[in-house]
């Protein structure tokens, strides 16, 4: 067994490490950019909705429509469809760089919905109280909506990252690099099952670790201290977003 591990590592170690590194880069950078776009979009949805604090029917309908369209396109199709755009922005359609654009485009509406859901859980009465004290819209977003929804936002963060991780694997199959690429090239094309299984096990551990870490973080920052309700909240949110494309 020890011998097997040594030879396996000598042969595929560096490939696997590169794959893991590429996956981390793709997930990290796309999550960052998707949040930079998705968070304001989610906030805008909350503010402009009919009962929001800045209702704007037209803008809300437009943003809502964009998010719905973005959410309804399967990632792999979206990736192919926007290849010209990808090329325009990062200069290439393939590799780690080429994957980031479609990952961001696909994850942004997803994250916007997640943020919208998290913020909609903030009690309307609390928002009203802030208004009655003379808070501006910016102050309400910055000092009420976001801090009060923090635990839900953190839980949503885990779901977003796992989703983006799943997308990177798909992107890997069309030449983006990362673990998905390795699984296809070695596991599928060349039939080296040991490599396939290592990537599978690694991904399982990674996803579990992300979930545990974020759940723990959400729980420990939540000052509502209502343990039973907390469990349900996390479960609800997960259930709502569990289906990825």
């Amino acid at each position: 067994m020890a011998e097997f591990i040594t030879t396996f590592w000598a042969e595929y170690g560096s490939i696997l490490l590169t794959g893991i590194r590429d996956t981390f880069i793709m997930v990290g950078i796309s999550t960052l950019f998707a949040y930079l776009l998705g968070l304001p979009l989610g906030v805008a949805l909350i503010l402009t909705q009919p009962h929001g604090i800045r209702p704007n029917h037209l803008l809300y309908r437009l943003l809502d429509w964009i998010v719905n369209v973005g959410r309804s396109l399967p990632f792999i199709i979206l990736m192919i469809a926007i290849m010209p755009l990808t090329k325009l922005i990062v200069g290439t359609k393939i590799g780690v760089k080429g994957a980031i654009v479609p990952l961001v485009v696909s994850a942004t509406p997803f994250i916007a919905r997640m943020v919208e859901t998290a913020l909609s859980e903030v009690d309307a009465g609390v928002i009203e109280a802030a208004q009655s004290m003379g808070a501006s819209t910016f102050q309400i977003v910055w000092k009420v909506y976001l801090p009060e929804a923090k635990p839900s936002l953190v839980l949503g963060g885990a779901i977003s990252i796992v989703t983006i991780l799943a997308y990177t694997a798909m992107a890997g199959t069309v030449g983006a690099g990362g673990l998905g690429d390795i699984a296809i090239q070695y596991g599928h094309n060349r039939g080296i099952l040991s490599v396939l299984w290592v990537t599978v096990i690694f991904l399982i551990i990674l996803v579990q670790a992300i979930q545990l870490l974020f759940n723990w973080a959400a729980r420990s920052i939540d000052k509502r201290l209502d343990q039973s309700a907390k469990g349900h909240k996390a479960f609800d949110l997960l259930a709502r977003f569990a289906h990825t494309k």
Binding site: M133, G134, A135, K143, K223
Partner: protein, 352 residues
């Protein structure tokens, strides 16, 4: 008579339009004076919340004038092109400033759940740009006033309802407001806690001179702390005036429904029946009172209506007693009831 702090003139509020329009408020006129505790009472759906929310423009009136501390928040203006008047509002910017001097507490407390008690009280000061150190000092003073200095580091979820409302009161006072609006502030609390919150409001009113506007559907709350009251019924003010005047001499049906417990209707009793409204504020239960009235004074009274609750052996609520025809006996009974602890009694007249 002291100065006006809130003036409302010809205010109306309609939700929706056409067939489905709800006329929540119609031609409301109010004049709340500096330093008083003013009550607004009415049944559910009467428009109490809508009215109080018009005072800080959380709800924008459909028409009418709202003046707070000499500043117009809404007023009517003639349109250039025609003779119609249209309601105009103060700018958002100015409104945010006004809202620092007319703050509000709510039935559901509405504290920030992810902030400590101290940080909750600091919140309005943060909004208005007070430095962190100053805000903290002031917040601790306010927590001292509401009796929660030791809970500064706790989170709202760790507090009881009464404590939460105390924090909300401290928070509402943070910007040194001239007016404190209370929308059903005690409706979620048990009678004992209600009494302590009302006592606090009264105390703050006396010590700080803050005008308090109390919205409630409970007569006992009005009796406990208000000097004047407006009775809201189906979106119109049925009656307004001094609490004791309205209680002893309700002249409208809406007022009578509230004043006479158990919905006792005037028509049931002959005009000229002498009656007394007895309010129980957590003293002895009412049955012993009626019994001992008979034993100690030899006076028999009729219970015309009652709306009392027994909580931990203490009585809360009101009761309407029919007094004997004999004036001496009636006076004796009245004196006896008034001598009871935590019981107040007022003679009531009927106008058939």
């Amino acid at each position: 008579m002291s100065e006006s702090i809130i003036q409302i003139q010809h205010l109306t509020k309609t939700f929706g339009d056409g067939e489905t329009a709800v006329h929540a408020l119609e031609d409301i006129n109010l004049d709340i004076r500096q330093g008083e505790i003013f009550g607004i009472i009415g049944l559910s759906g009467a428009g109490k919340s809508t009215l109080v929310r018009c005072m800080n423009l959380l709800e924008r009136p459909t028409s009418g004038t709202v003046i707070v501390d000499g500043q117009q928040l809404s007023w009517m203006e003639k349109q250039a092109d025609n003779k119609d008047e249209k309601v105009v509002f103060i700018s958002e910017r100015e409104l945010r400033l006004v809202r620092r001097s007319i703050t509000m507490i709510f039935q559901s407390f509405n504290l920030l759940m992810q902030r400590t008690v101290l940080k909750n009280v600091c919140f309005p000061m943060e909004l208005s740009g007070v430095t962190a150190a100053k805000a903290k000092k002031r917040a601790l003073e306010l927590l001292e006033i509401v009796g929660l200095r030791d809970k500064a580091g706790a989170y709202p979820a760790q507090l009881s309802g009464g404590q939460k409302q105390r924090v909300a009161i401290a928070r509402a006072l943070a910007t040194d407001p001239k007016v404190l609006l209370c929308d059903e502030a005690t409706s979620a609390l048990d009678p004992t806690t209600t009494a302590s919150i009302l006592a606090l409001l009264k105390d703050l009113n006396q010590k700080l001179g803050v005008t308090v506007v109390v919205i409630t559907h409970q007569m006992s709350v009005i009796e406990e702390i208000c000097s004047r009251v407006a009775i809201l019924d189906g979106g119109v003010i049925a009656e307004q005036g001094k609490v004791e005047d309205i209680f002893s001499n309700p002249s409208t049906d809406a007022a009578r429904r509230l004043v006479y417990p158990g919905g006792a209707s005037v028509a049931q009793y002959p005009a000229g029946t002498r009656a007394v409204r007895v309010a129980f504020n957590g003293g002895t239960a009412y049955q012993p009172l009626i019994a001992s009235l008979a034993i100690d004074c030899g006076v028999k009274v009729n219970i015309l209506g009652a709306d009392t609750r027994d909580i931990d052996g203490k009585a809360f609520g009101t009761m309407l007693l029919g007094l004997p025809d004999d004036p001496n006996e009636a006076a004796k009974a009245l004196a006896y009831i008034r001598a009871q602890h935590n019981v107040s009694a007022e003679e009531v007249e009927y106008h058939g």
